[in-house]
Symmetry: C2
Subunit: 126 residues, 2 copies
């Protein structure tokens, strides 16, 4: 790991997000955050919460694999288990301004999540 203000914020966000306290994590997210995700562009804190909150709520394990950054940018990769998928790694590149994340690009594979949702839907009572 390297030091840097952006990395501190990214790690504080990550710790809060993976500790079950997503509202604490949102303290590190700017009101005008732009999140570029596999599902598209999510603009603003409310859209960010709607996108990321369900993932955070479903987390059962998170392991930080690598984290680096400088004053403005941080890059983290983690592995995670959620109630839907076991072994779901993700990577986040964040830009930080005044202690808050103003941009996040998140990369993960949607395939196992889509498969789990299809399986859950198929097994649901009709």
């Amino acid at each position: 790991m390297t030091a840097g203000a952006a990395l501190d914020v990214a790690l504080a966000y990550h710790r809060a997000c993976t500790s079950g306290d997503f509202e604490q994590a949102m303290r590190y997210v700017a009101d005008d955050v732009v999140c570029l995700a596999p599902s598209g562009r999510h603009e603003g804190a409310e859209a960010f919460r709607a996108f990321m909150g369900p993932f955070a709520a479903g987390l059962t394990r998170a392991e930080l694999l690598a984290a680096f950054g400088d004053e403005e940018t941080a890059l983290v990769m983690y592995d995670s288990d959620t109630t839907l998928v076991r072994g779901a790694p993700g990577a986040e590149c964040v830009r930080v301004r005044e202690g808050r994340i103003v941009e996040m690009r998140i990369v993960f594979d949607r395939v196992p999540f889509e498969a789990a949702r299809r399986a859950a839907a198929a097994g649901a009572p009709r």
Copy 2:
């Protein structure tokens, strides 16, 4: 970006891989490399070549978004266009030993690639 031997190797690999010279990129990959990808575990240089070569061959644009590292570990995120998919970001966390990548964890979203392959198959002559 931060300095470090692992980052140098990761960037040299990335430059070669995105320049159309995949065999040059393979010079930075250890014979006993282990690659953890969305599709599973690829062990050894031949398996790595079989997995990564087709992606590299299809690249039409690559843009490094962030790159950090230290002596042993590097983490990069990039955006890419390929002949199959436009706007396909990926992240790679690599461990380096003696100038070569011994471990790579690569994260990307397989959904657009699978959709493109299905579309291509549906449109192919029968």
